[in-house]
Symmetry: C2
């Protein structure tokens, strides 16, 4: 979609939203790009100082981007959960896939959301959003234990294992360290299979459904 117009009045009209949208677009499309506020302003067609009328500093814009990222991740997880039905054992892999796929599709945004380096210049409350992902996993695992389909081990132990593995896999994928010749073509399915053998009660080694 072509957004550039030959002329723009002195007042942009909706610069705040334009800065956010432009930033999301650049973060998604330009890999290996070092985020700079001046570049965002340039692409939005305003001077380098204009953003400071809408955001106190660079960190405030980054915080907004991260919050949007958490919203999108939450939506993806809920959608995966809803698509897979209510059975905890059937829901974990689709949710795991939604999580990793989100990170792979939005590498810069994902790193912004979970990385302390970027969170140093953001609102500290982002940590709460990051940790709410953990709570989502605890939820599903807890229901699985109630149903008797997951092993009776402290649910947070299972959840810690789940989140660590998913976060690690996402970061490794983003950083280009999951080479097919080393980890195969379906590393998430493979690794998650190993983990599920440690989580599920009397777990069958049968192929789990691939909802890709």
């Amino acid at each position: 979609m072509q957004k550039t117009t030959p002329e723009r009045s002195y007042h942009h009209g909706d610069l705040r939203r334009a800065l956010v949208d432009t930033a999301l677009e650049v973060m998604r499309e330009e890999r290996n790009w070092q985020f700079t506020l001046r570049e965002i302003a340039r692409r939005a067609g305003v001077s380098h100082a204009a953003p400071y009328k809408h955001f106190p500093d660079k960190g405030a814009l980054l915080t907004e981007l991260a919050m949007i990222g958490f919203d999108q991740l939450r939506t993806a997880l809920i959608q995966a959960q809803s698509d897979a039905g209510g059975e905890p054992r059937e829901v974990l892999l689709p949710m795991a896939r939604a999580y990793v796929d989100f990170g792979i599709a939005n590498p810069a945004l994902y790193s912004l959301m979970f990385g302390a380096e970027s969170r140093n210049q953001c609102d500290v409350h982002l940590g709460e959003n990051a940790i709410s992902v953990f709570d989502t996993v605890v939820d599903v695992l807890g229901r699985g234990q109630s149903d008797g389909v997951f092993r009776r081990r402290p649910v947070r132990d299972h959840a810690t294992a789940c989140w660590s593995l998913l976060h690690g896999m996402t970061m490794l994928a983003i950083d280009g360290l999951l080479l097919p010749e080393k980890v195969g073509l379906e590393p998430l399915k493979a690794a998650f299979g190993t983990l599920m053998e440690g989580i599920a009660s009397e777990y069958e080694a049968a192929e789990t459904p691939d909802l890709r």
Copy 2:
């Protein structure tokens, strides 16, 4: 140790090593610090252009730091393996702990070693070092399968799960997202326990030895 001397001749004598040592020190001791070459030069007591006589650019110094980090991580893993004896089942948790402890003790260095953002400005061969960690895990798991103490599943599936979980846990710890009230005081032991139930054959739920 006080390194500052009141006077230094025009020729430093060993500036390359001083820059590397200074950078490692700053990365380890100053959390939340944004790495700048000028700051390293200042602390080494030379002008901002002096490093360019020893490193073509900033990325070259970062590459050297990452290589040192991989050497240190490799040493820590070998040490843990050697301390725990040769039995694969007894060696995984100590190695896992050595891995995560290394990351927690060297957060900036660890992020440099494994993060693509920093590796963009480094030598691309760093990826080989990163992936050699995976090979280490494959080794131990392979021996465990030969011994019959690990489940007969493609060893790289187990290794992918192991590395992902360890990398994820290290990154989450570095980024301050492993809150004790959420994951307990021993998240590695807990999460690794869950994973080991999916890896080990007829895994006992008994406490694994804590070599801390």
